[in-house]
Symmetry: C2
């Protein structure tokens, strides 16, 4: 069952979690001085409106009309009740998912790529540099830059550049220039940290260029809250007062934050992060200041981390292979407002395949984690004999991840 | 701009073009006797309700509730006005597209795969065999069989099996068994005709198995008319009286028929088929009785054909590489009710990339043909200074066709 919003119901403001946090957010620290960073420190990387959004305490931030004009290409996204999955599970729970896979790039990532490109465009930026691991973020930014006629340079981790050519081709079709990273060592397989270094170096070395990040930061989660704001209205259309639990997979935390933050002030709603057992930042990491990248070039962020030199195994859910977490998500878990659970990779593929065979759609491996979380919550509802309402974020489709399904089917999965 | 139908507005009947044809349809002929085929001839291949739909003259055919229950996983599909494409073209035309890419398999094909699987299920079939070239049809049937717990065996042209592993993986994820065809010669690259032979041989040799075809036949086009029936209602929502022209790419003719047939009785609406210059059945073929397959095992159909032994070049729009056309489409072109145009491959990629950079979505190469047709019609409206209304079928996405875009970008396209 689909619950659709007309396009004139697209939200006109983003929800800001910062003023509603139980305790004030700790500031990011300069990597050299370890003092709180100021706007001037960030100006070489980001346009001023994004720097302001990073620190604002306004409860809502208006979405510019020029951004809504692009978001409207695929938003509002559908809220769908997974009745066939419910039936297969024999659960009294009602399972809803917000389908972010319908965006041009196939995931939630364009929700922030579009405003980031917009603020750069109006600020006079001609070119944006970024990094991408498996390619989801790079494709979203390439799409967004095409809409505003901005040049886009993507530093893609060399191993992915070689193994996942389809993502490179998608970025190029939208007009981006894609190079393998590290650029200075053609024999090195690369890493996300190294690609961040390449992109930051590019951005600070050119006056016409800014840098762009696809997760972790406050302004990125702010942009993603459009997901949860829409979902609230659609759940009401479905006749539900509130969800009992809201679930998202968690890498850096942006798709989880997007669906969960608009519910954080309602104490009756549980919030649940699902992460891979092989990169268990929230369930196995320490809460402390750490760098966002391997090389230690970024500000220090207060977050759950496995250490910025942690090298996660090469699981297929590339979007969940990050050593840290968004400071907002980290603070919510630390305060007990948000729960976290970790699953081994094989269980998440089992869940994704059950979803594909009942609901039809093929999920991204990252999304398989959220589905596994929803299935376990549905089973808990069955055990309790309760009609619980479960909402999860369907963050992306798996059409460009089919090799992962093949590796699962034929027993070639790496990592746990 | 999106025009969305609530799911209780999903059509409850398919439109049948046959009674509205200017002249009675000529019957298919038995390949051996050259006499009109009867139901008994087709019974080893298809369940009786599909055989009845193949020849019915009822103006509308009810869609079973159990079929609607599955179609509702993605239908009604959106009708979208391509305002950003219009702006890029500087045209006074209003361009609308019906987005069939949102189905689980990524194209219009599940519209017929689902009812075909359903009628087989209720008729007691346990297993369906089919062929697939590039893999769109095989994936659609694999998805449909998963919904009704039917076994599915797909004979995939060996060259595609090797070059397009993602499609094979998608079919397997939905539970289908996929083998390379021809099965009896592992060194042969295969052909669609050969794969049809493998699938038909499988179906007739087993009591528990039927055969299924994804285009060309009357009942397939019947099932696809749900596209045009929805589009009519959505265009009315958009405030349009009627389209001036309705456009679809044409291989066997099912996506074109799906959107165009519901408009055929309105003489004010032009109908336009777009085909590849390298396989120009409607613009360069002869209208005559010909076999549906290379081996001459199928009934003879009255259609435009390049000859059943015609071998089209290996263009990327694999779904348009067919030597013939649906008898219904052929009769409409022959009578002058439908127009046809052929484009060289490179022009259709140019159109597809313009679409991706303005409207965001990445089209399948087949769909690029319909987009090119829409762009030329928009330019004609510009030249005439007229606000024409253009409707085309966005038959599928291109996420699994990215190699084609890469070949275009780097000058490696084969065929004209």
């Amino acid at each position: 069952m689909h619950f659709l919003l007309d396009e004139d119901k697209i939200p006109t403001a983003w929800y800001n979690a910062v003023p509603d946090m139980a305790e004030p957010m700790q500031p990011p620290l300069h990597p050299g001085t370890r003092e709180p960073v100021g706007p001037a420190d960030l100006a070489p990387l980001f346009p001023m409106p994004l720097i302001e959004q990073e620190v604002t305490t306004a409860p809502w931030v208006d979405i510019p009309g020029e951004v809504i004009d692009i978001l409207r290409l695929w938003r509002p996204t559908p809220l769908i009740r997974a009745t066939r999955l419910e039936k297969a599970l024999g659960t009294p729970a009602r399972i809803y998912y917000k389908d972010e896979s319908v965006s041009p790039a196939g995931s939630h990532k364009p929700n922030t790529a579009v405003p980031q490109a917009f603020y750069n465009k109006v600020g006079g930026t001609l070119r944006i540099a970024t990094e991408t691991g498996a390619g989801q973020w790079g494709s979203a930014l390439a799409f967004a830059c095409a809409q505003y006629d901005l040049d886009c340079k993507v530093y893609m981790v060399r191993a992915s550049y070689k193994q996942k050519p389809y993502r490179r081709m998608l970025m190029e079709t939208w007009g981006a220039e894609v190079v393998a990273s590290p650029v200075d060592d053609p024999d090195h397989p690369g890493s996300l940290g190294g690609a961040i270094s390449d992109a930051v170096r590019d951005a600070v070395s050119r006056d016409d260029t800014h840098y762009s990040l696809g997760s972790v930061l406050n302004h990125v989660l702010l942009h993603q809250t459009i997901i949860g704001v829409e979902a609230k209205e659609q759940l009401a259309m479905a006749g539900e007062t509130r969800p009992d639990v809201v679930i998202g997979s968690c890498g850096g935390g942006s798709n989880l934050g997007g669906i969960a933050l608009p519910y954080m002030t309602d104490a009756a709603v549980r919030l649940l992060a699902v992460e891979p057992a092989s990169c268990p930042t929230l369930t196995g990491g320490r809460f402390e200041y750490d760098f966002g990248d391997v090389a230690g070039m970024t500000p220090l962020l207060p977050m759950y981390t496995l250490g910025h030199d942690f090298v996660p195994p090469s699981i297929h859910a590339g979007g969940l292979r990050y050593h840290g977490d968004s400071p907002i998500i980290s603070a919510l878990v630390k305060s007990g407002r948000m729960e976290a659970v970790a699953y081994p990779q094989a269980k998440t593929f089992e869940a994704a395949i059950l979803f594909a065979r009942t609901e039809g759609k093929l999920p991204a491996p990252e999304t398989g984690h959220a589905i596994m979380g929803a299935i376990d919550e549905a089973k808990a509802a069955t055990d309790a004999g309760e009609e619980r309402v479960i909402l999860f974020n369907y963050s992306g489709h798996g059409f460009l991840d089919l090799q992962a399904y093949d590796d699962y089917k034929y027993g070639r999965l790496e990592g746990a």
